[in-house]
Amino acid sequence: MKKSEVLFAANYRYNFDRDLYVNYAAKKAFSIEFVDDHSEEDLRRGIQESPNGNGWIFYFNVPPSDSIRRQLEQVLESVHR
C-alpha cells in the first residue's frame, strides 16, 4: 500500500496549498517531507495517536515553531469552516 493511500484510508485529505495531508476532524496534519522520510509504520502510529483536545498535531520533520503553528492552525481552521 502506498503511504498516501494509508492516509487517504484514514480520512486524510491532501491540502494542495500547504502540501499537507490533513484530517480536519481529528485536527492532525502530516507534511509531505515527513511522509517521504518516515515508514508506513510511523504514519500508522501517528494516525492512531489520540487527538490533542482543541489543538492541532503536526507531524513534521522539524517541529514547527509557535508562530508557524499559529499560521497553519489559522489556515486549516478557515478551510474547515
Binding site: 491532501y14 491540502n15 494542495f16 496549498d17 500547504r18 502540501d19 499537507l20 496534519a29 507534511s31 509531505i32 517531507e33 515527513f34 503536526f58 513534521f60 520533520n61 522539524v62 514547527p64 515553531s65 508562530s67 508557524i68 499560521q71 497553519l72
Partner: protein
C-alpha cells in the same frame, strides 16, 4: 504600522539584486549563443537549436522558497534565515535541440569552455530518458559571485511541452495551485514525455535509414 512580513523582506531583496540577475542572464545567454554558433551554422535542414532565457520572477522566487519549508510557510521569527540568493535558478537558459541526438554534442561543446566547465551538474529527471536532462548550475564571478545561474539542454519537443505544462502546473494561478501533486495529471505527463521521446527516437532512425546511400 503593520509589521513587515518575510515576503516583504524577500521582495525588497529581490529588487535590490534584480540588476545583477539581469546581467547574469544576459551573460549566460550570450556565452551559450557564442559557443553554440558553429553548431548552429552547420545544422541540417531538419535540425534546430534554439536558446531561450529568462529571469526568475519575484513572486515565483518567493513561492519556490516558501515551498521549500514544511507546510509551505515562512517562520516570521526566523526571517533572517531566508534569502532569494539561496535559489539556484535566478537566471536561466534552456537550449532546445531537435532531434535529441544533438543533445550530447551541444553539452560537450558548452562544457569545454569557461565558466561552464566547472559548473555543477544535476540531471533533471524525466520519463523519456533514464539519464535525465543535462542541467548545470554555477556563477559568473566577474559579474556576480552571489547570483546563481542555470542552464539546461533539452530535447525541443519536451522543452516546448514543458513551456505550456509548467506554466499551468507550477505558476501560482489560484485554481490550479497544487496541480503538480495530482496523480492523474502526473500520469498523463509521464505518458506525453515517453511518447515524445519515442517520436524522436523513431525520427532519428528514419533519418539514418534515409541518409544512407542506396545499395547497388
Amino acid at each position: 504600522m503593520p509589521e513587515r512580513t518575510v515576503e516583504d523582506r524577500l521582495r525588497e531583496e529581490y529588487f535590490d539584486i534584480l540588476p545583477d540577475i539581469r546581467r547574469v542572464a544576459w551573460q549566460l545567454e550570450t556565452e551559450i549563443m557564442h559557443i553554440t554558433l558553429p553548431l548552429k551554422q552547420s545544422l541540417a535542414h531538419y535540425e534546430q537549436l534554439v536558446v531561450k532565457s529568462r529571469v526568475k520572477e519575484c513572486e515565483s522566487a518567493i513561492k519556490t522558497l516558501r515551498g521549500q519549508q514544511e507546510g509551505n510557510v515562512f517562520d516570521p521569527e526566523k526571517r533572517e534565515k531566508y534569502s532569494i540568493l539561496d535559489l539556484k535558478d535566478l537566471a536561466g537558459s534552456r537550449v532546445l535541440v531537435f532531434p535529441r541526438n544533438g543533445l550530447i554534442k551541444t553539452v560537450q561543446m558548452l562544457r569545454q569552455y569557461e565558466p561552464f566547465r566547472d559548473w555543477v551538474a544535476e540531471p533533471l529527471s524525466y520519463a523519456g530518458d533514464e539519464r535525465g536532462i543535462p542541467m548545470y548550475f554555477g556563477f559568473f564571478p566577474a559579474i556576480s559571485s552571489t547570483v546563481c545561474a542555470e542552464f539546461q539542454v533539452v530535447p525541443m519537443l519536451i522543452g516546448l511541452f514543458w513551456e505550456v505544462e509548467h506554466s499551468a502546473m507550477y505558476k501560482p494561478i489560484g485554481w490550479a495551485k497544487g496541480i503538480e501533486n495530482d496523480e492523474g495529471m502526473n500520469s498523463c505527463r509521464t505518458e506525453v514525455e515517453i511518447s515524445l521521446a519515442r517520436f524522436e527516437a523513431e525520427f532519428e532512425k528514419f533519418v539514418e535509414k534515409n541518409s544512407q546511400p542506396p545499395s547497388e
